[in-house]
C-alpha cells in the first residue's frame, strides 16, 4: 500500500518502522506524510500515587457538595423565613439571601462535579479506532433494489398527475408557517401613520402628564414645558399617539431667536415648540440646556439649536426637529396652528412622497 493512496479505508494506522520521518525526494523538502507521533507517556496525578492526596481531594469534593447542600437548604429556609416584606431593606435582604443560596447550591454542585472528574476519576488516555462508514457492496445493492421497487410500486414515474400534485402540495406547506411569521413582523405596515399626529388647528397645548392647558403668560423665559395635545387620553391608542405627538416648548428672549422668513409666525413672543422625537432614530430628545439653548439627544448625542430652527449642531441626526406652529386663542391659552409640516421622527422610504 503506497502512502499516496488517500484516506485510509481500514482501521489500521500506517506507521513507518522506527517512527522516522518519511522524507521527500530532496533536501529541505517537506515530507509527503507525517508519521503519527502517538500519545505522550501518561503522567500520573498526585492523587493517583499518594493516598493522602487522594483522601484530601475526596474531602474537598465532599466539602463542595456539602456547600451546595447547605446553599439549597439555606435558600429554602430564606424563602420561608425572610419574606420580601414591604420595605426596600427587607426586599433587599430577601433577594440577597435567595441569590446567595442559589449561587452556593449551583456553583458548589458544579465545582464539585468538575473537581471530582479532574482529580479522582481515571484520566488514563483511551484510543478508539474509527470504523469505515461505507457499507459492504451486498447491503448497498440490496438497499438500491428496495428503493427502486418502492418507486416502481408507487407508480410515480408513470403517473405524472400524482407527481405534480405531490410536488405542488409540498411546495405550499411552508406557507402555513411563513405567512403568519412574516405577517406579524412589526405588527403594522402602515408607515403612513407617521405623516400625521394628533395636532390640528386650534388644539390646545397641554402639560404632560396632567393634561392641563398652558397659558402663554405662564411660560417664562428659560422655562421648558413638556407638552401633549389636548384630549390625548380620549383618543384611541393614546400611547402610540403620544409617542408621535410629544412636543418640547421653551421661551427664549425674542432677540436670541433666529427664525426662517417663512416661519416667523410659527412662534409666539419667543415661545417655540418642537417635536421631541429625534430625526435620527426616534429617541425622545429632551435634554435642554437653558443657557446655550441646545437640545441634546441622550441616545447618540445629536445636538439641536432651539434658538435657530432646531438645526443640527452635532451628531448623527440629518435634519432639524420638526417645528409645531403655535399661537394663542381668545383666552390666552397656547394652541397649535396646524399639524407638523413634515413627518416627525426618523427617515423612512415613503417619507417625502
Amino acid at each position: 500500500m503506497s502512502t499516496h493512496e488517500g484516506p485510509q479505508v481500514s482501521g489500521e494506522v500506517t506507521r513507518p518502522a522506527g517512527g522516522e520521518l518519511v522524507t521527500g525526494d530532496g533536501e529541505g523538502q517537506l515530507p509527503d506524510r507525517f508519521p503519527n507521533p502517538g500519545l505522550p507517556p501518561h503522567r500520573p496525578r498526585l492523587a493517583d500515587t499518594d493516598p493522602a492526596a487522594e483522601r484530601r481531594v475526596v474531602r474537598q469534593v465532599a466539602l463542595l457538595f456539602g456547600i451546595s447542600a447547605l446553599g439549597t437548604i439555606g435558600m429554602v429556609v430564606a424563602y420561608f423565613a425572610v419574606p420580601p416584606g414591604e420595605t426596600i431593606g427587607s426586599m433587599r435582604l430577601s433577594n440577597l439571601l435567595l441569590g446567595l443560596g442559589l449561587f452556593l447550591a449551583m456553583f458548589g454542585f458544579g465545582a464539585a462535579a468538575i473537581h471530582w472528574a479532574k482529580t479522582v476519576m481515571s484520566d488514563v488516555e483511551h484510543v478508539e479506532q474509527r470504523h469505515p462508514q461505507r457499507s459492504d457492496p451486498q447491503t448497498r445493492s440490496d438497499a438500491v433494489a428496495v428503493l427502486s421497487e418502492g418507486t416502481a410500486d408507487s407508480g410515480i414515474g408513470r403517473r405524472g398527475v400524482l407527481k405534480g400534485a405531490l410536488v405542488g402540495a409540498l411546495a405550499l406547506v411552508p406557507l402555513t408557517i411563513a405567512v403568519p411569521l412574516v405577517g406579524e413582523v412589526g405588527g403594522d405596515w402602515n408607515v403612513g401613520k407617521f405623516r400625521n399626529t394628533l395636532w390640528a388647528r386650534g388644539k390646545r397645548l397641554t402639560k404632560d402628564p396632567s393634561g392641563e392647558p398652558i397659558r402663554a403668560a405662564d411660560v417664562t423665559i428659560g422655562s421648558v414645558f413638556h407638552v401633549i395635545p389636548e384630549g390625548l387620553r380620549d383618543s384611541e391608542h393614546w400611547i402610540e399617539e403620544k409617542a408621535k405627538a410629544v412636543v418640547l416648548m421653551v421661551r427664549l428672549d425674542p432677540s436670541d431667536l433666529t427664525e426662517a422668513p417663512n416661519r416667523r409666525d410659527w412662534s409666539y413672543e419667543g415661545i417655540v415648540a418642537y417635536s421631541k422625537i429625534c430625526t435620527h432614530v426616534g429617541c425622545p430628545v429632551a435634554l435642554y440646556e437653558q443657557q446655550t439653548h441646545h437640545l441634546l439627544c441622550p441616545c447618540h448625542q445629536s445636538t439641536f439649536d432651539v434658538a435657530d430652527g432646531a438645526k443640527v449642531l452635532f451628531g448623527p441626526a440629518s435634519r432639524p426637529l420638526p417645528q409645531l406652529p403655535i399661537t394663542v386663542d381668545d383666552e390666552g391659552y397656547l394652541i397649535a396652528q396646524d399639524d407638523f409640516a413634515e413627518p416627525i421622527g426618523p427617515s423612512y422610504w415613503e417619507r417625502l412622497k
Partner: protein
Amino acid sequence: MKAIVDRRHHRLAPVVLLLAALLTMGALYAAFSPTPAGAAVATQTDIDAGRALFTANCATCHGPRAEGRDEVPSLIGVGAAAVDFQVSTGRMPMQASGPQAMAKPPALDAEQTRQLAAYVASLAPGPQIPSAEQVNPALGDAANGMALFRTNCAMCHGAVGSGGALTSGKYAPALGQSTPTEIYEAMLTGPQAMPVFNDANLTPDDKRDVIAFLEAQKAGSPGGTDLGAVGPVSEGLWVWVVGMGLLIASAVWIGAKSS
C-alpha cells in the same frame, strides 16, 4: 468612682473619651447653631450687610449693581431662592470659569448667605426661599412625583436622580445629597444649564411630590447594589470585566489538567 479610676488605663479609654467629647460638641452645636436661612424676616441691617458681602464676593463678575455682563447673568430679579441655592451649595462664588460651576464647601456661612439673599431680593422681586412645609417630603405624593420626574427631570438627572452627562463638559448633578430645599430652589430658579420649572409648570404641590419621590430613592434599590444607577456604562463594565472574567477563569480551570 473606683471602677472608673481602675479603667483609666484601659486601652479603649481614649476612644471612649473622644466619642464623649464629639457627642457633647454635636449636642452643643445643635442647640446653639443659627436657625436656617429664610426663617427670619429680612431687615434693613441684613440688606446692608448683604450689600457689603456682595461687593466683596460677587461684584467682580456680576458687577457692582448686580447688572451682569457678557456670559455673566444679571442678578436683578433672580430672588432669594437663587442666591440661597447657589451660595449654600458652594456653586457661587465660582472657583474658576469653566463649563460647570461645581458644588463645593460653601464660602459663606448660613447667616451671611441669608444676608446676601436679602440684598439680592431687595433689588427686584423674585422667587422666595421655600418654607419648611413646602419642602416637607412627608406631605408629598411620591407616585405623582415619579410621573412628574420621569417627564420633566429624568432625561438629564437619570431615572432615580443619579445624574448624567450633558454637552461640552457640563453635567446634571446627582441629587442624592441635595436637601429638599435645594431641590425646590433649583426647580424654581433653573440654575446654570437647568431650565426653569416655574409654579405654573410644576405647582408648589408638584414640586413637593418630586421631592417626596427623590427622598424615597434614598432607601436604595431592592435588588441590592445599583452600580451607581447610571445605566448601561457601569452595568456593562461590570458584566464585561467581572462577569466574563469569572466565566473565562472557570473555563481555564475546567480545561487545565489536574496536577
